[in-house]
Amino acid sequence: MDSAGIIVAFWLLSAIAVGSAVGVFLARNLIHAVVLLVLSFVATAGLFVTLSADFIAAAQVLIYAGAIPVLMVFAVMLTPLAGRDNGNSLYVVPGVLLGGAFAVIVAIVAIDAEWGAAGAATLAGQSFETTADAIGDALLGRYVLAFEVASVLLLAALIGAIVLVREDEPA
């Protein structure tokens, strides 16, 4: 038995997250789609909070709501003829079918499966703890190699992005 606040929050946030994700699909204007996307991300961040992931939630807001949409907006502005248009391609039917099928099947599996102890656990059963320290320890301890690789990846992405959009050298 969870507290009502959590339940309300979960259903509300889930509805917003999924609903605005669908909105991204339906929006006719690309800028509207970006805004809806951000809404979905923020709602997801709220879901993260219900999962006691405060650090991840903040990072989610920072990166997904703060940084990536801005990049997208820039890209949209830099490609004017693309017309802020969010039209569908030839693959709209298979896309919707596949997406729907995937969601349904995974949902069925998730509900149907035996998750053992994890399935029996509830949110109320565990206390809310601070995660930043533990994540930091894990990142710089057990996962340090992955951490370094990720940093190299970021660097490579940075350089790659710069190289890609750099003006051609004047002859």
Partner: protein, 476 residues
């Protein structure tokens, strides 16, 4: 592009009466809650034991007991509600109204203060007509703004045009949550406070973009693009500067940072001069304030992203601008100036007064800058961020990281190590800034010959060459 000509008038009565009544009720409730808070505080029922606002204490506890009693007597719908969440909800409501009222009240005063101060700096009087010393001027302004017709430009994106003023208001209010006003006196004392603040403030960017884009106005779009470019550039040095605070104090929680300063009897401003400078300067960029107010540079792009907004929508932008400035002042005071602590004086003086005084000082600095400095150009600012602030703050972070690890390992009690750090950091700050500026090609002595050449004789091109002015069009 005049909105009058292009614009489309909205129906005269935009707000239904029922909604207005509801608003009035909310406002009354708002005032009532504030009175209640004041009563609880003044009444001394908290007994000087002010804890986290979440545990607002006795009043809420009484409420819960009452609820429990009700629940025990007649189980029913309250069964579902009868958990501790209700206290959270109540305290959240209380805190939110508290913040809103404090910030809102402060904003009203700030408008007057800023105009007055700037007026004084400009040998003017500033507002002095409405009320004593013009004190009621902001209220008059607000009334005027509320009464003003809201215009929407033709071709504007309707939804996106209406959203931003509200969207931009939310982060401004939410950001105030973690600021501690006294020992354990914070509304939302999150553990990842600084990250939270950075994340929340990054939301502003999108709202600004929406405002600029939806206005269907080149000035607005230009302002929005400038804002975005500047914000994503300056968020980096800002975050790095805040990271050095985190490193030294070992926590992202604002209250812990203040306590750290309090227990070590030192302000982080003394320890991290470069970080503070970086933070403050980057904040002026994030805030679009002089000398970095290129996003709404009125001499270039009229008013930037909110060019097309009028009435209370403009009022909200204006309020957010001031509120964010105040918030930056508050964060500066909290992180670098010791927050609510004042070397033991907080025993006698309430913490929120101390913090208020510090916020005022920091805010005054912002006003002062605004009253004094011209504005940079966008490319100059970008260059400054990427070539100057980011490398410097990274270097500074390196130094602080070493110091923090030293501090964590060999905890020398007292002032010795911190004093040493302060000396090292100040020296590093001075040397780094000086040398890096020189590396960037800044040569103050090169500009020594600035005065024009004085001559008695007249002439044309030949005389100009004779005067020995450098070849025209070349940079000295």
């Amino acid at each position: 592009m005049s909105a009058l000509r292009m614009g489309r008038r909205l129906p005269r009565r935009t707000v239904p009466r029922a909604l207005m009544a509801l608003g009035a009720l909310v406002a009354i409730g708002f005032v009532a809650v504030n009175v209640a808070i004041g009563y609880v505080v003044i009444d001394g029922r908290l007994d000087g034991q002010w804890y986290d606002v979440r545990d607002l204490g006795i009043g809420v506890q009484e409420l819960r007991e009452w609820l429990d009693d009700r629940n025990a007597q007649q189980p029913g719908i309250l069964d579902f509600l009868g958990q501790h969440w209700i206290s959270y909800a109540v305290t959240a409501l209380l805190g939110a109204t508290g913040i809103l009222s404090i910030v809102g009240g402060a904003l009203l005063i700030l408008i007057w203060v800023e105009r007055r101060l700037i007026g004084r700096m400009q040998i003017r009087r500033g507002p002095n007509r409405v009320g004593p010393y013009g004190l009621l001027q902001p209220i008059a302004d607000a009334v005027k703004l509320i009464q003003k017709e809201v215009l929407m430009p033709r071709g504007a994106d309707k939804v996106l045009f209406f959203l931003p003023p509200a969207l931009i208001f939310i982060p401004m209010i939410v950001a105030w949550g973690p600021i501690p006003w006294g020992a354990q006196m914070a509304y939302l004392d999150v553990h990842v406070g600084i990250l939270f603040l950075i994340a929340v403030s990054s939301l502003t960017t999108l709202a600004i973009f929406m405002a600029g884009w939806s206005s269907n106005n080149h000035y607005a779009l230009l302002g929005a693009m400038r804002t975005i470019a500047m914000m994503i550039s300056y968020e980096i040095p800002l975050s790095i500067a805040l990271l050095s605070v985190v490193l030294l104090s070992g926590s992202m929680q604002l209250s812990t940072i203040v306590e750290w300063q309090s227990t070590h009897n030192v302000w982080l401003a003394a320890l991290l001069p470069l970080a503070m400078f970086t933070y403050f300067f980057s904040s002026t960029a994030e805030l679009n304030r002089t000398p970095n107010d290129i996003a709404e540079a009125e001499s270039e792009i009229v008013a930037g992203f909110h060019t097309e907004y009028s009435g209370m929508k403009f009022g909200l932008f204006y309020a957010v601008e001031l509120g964010n400035a105040l918030f930056v002042a508050a964060l500066t005071a909290t992180l670098f100036l010791g927050g609510w602590s004042l070397f033991g004086l907080e025993e006698w003086i309430p913490g929120y007064l101390i913090l208020g005084a510090k916020i005022s000082a920091a805010y005054f600095l912002l006003v002062w800058l605004r009253g004094t400095l011209p504005r940079f150009r966008l490319d100059q600012l970008m260059k400054f961020a990427w070539q100057f602030l980011i490398p410097l703050s990274l270097l500074n972070l390196l130094i602080v990281a070493v110091e923090a690890s030293v501090f964590a390992r060999w905890e020398v009690k007292g002032i010795v190590s911190l004093g040493l750090f302060a000396i090292v950091n100040w020296a590093a700050a001075i040397i780094l800034v000086r040398e890096w500026a020189r590396r960037m090609g800044y040569r103050p002595e090169r500009e020594a010959v600035r005065q024009p050449i004085l001559t008695q004789g007249v002439g044309g091109l030949q005389a100009a060459r004779r005067l020995g002015a450098p070849e025209m069009g070349t940079q000295v």
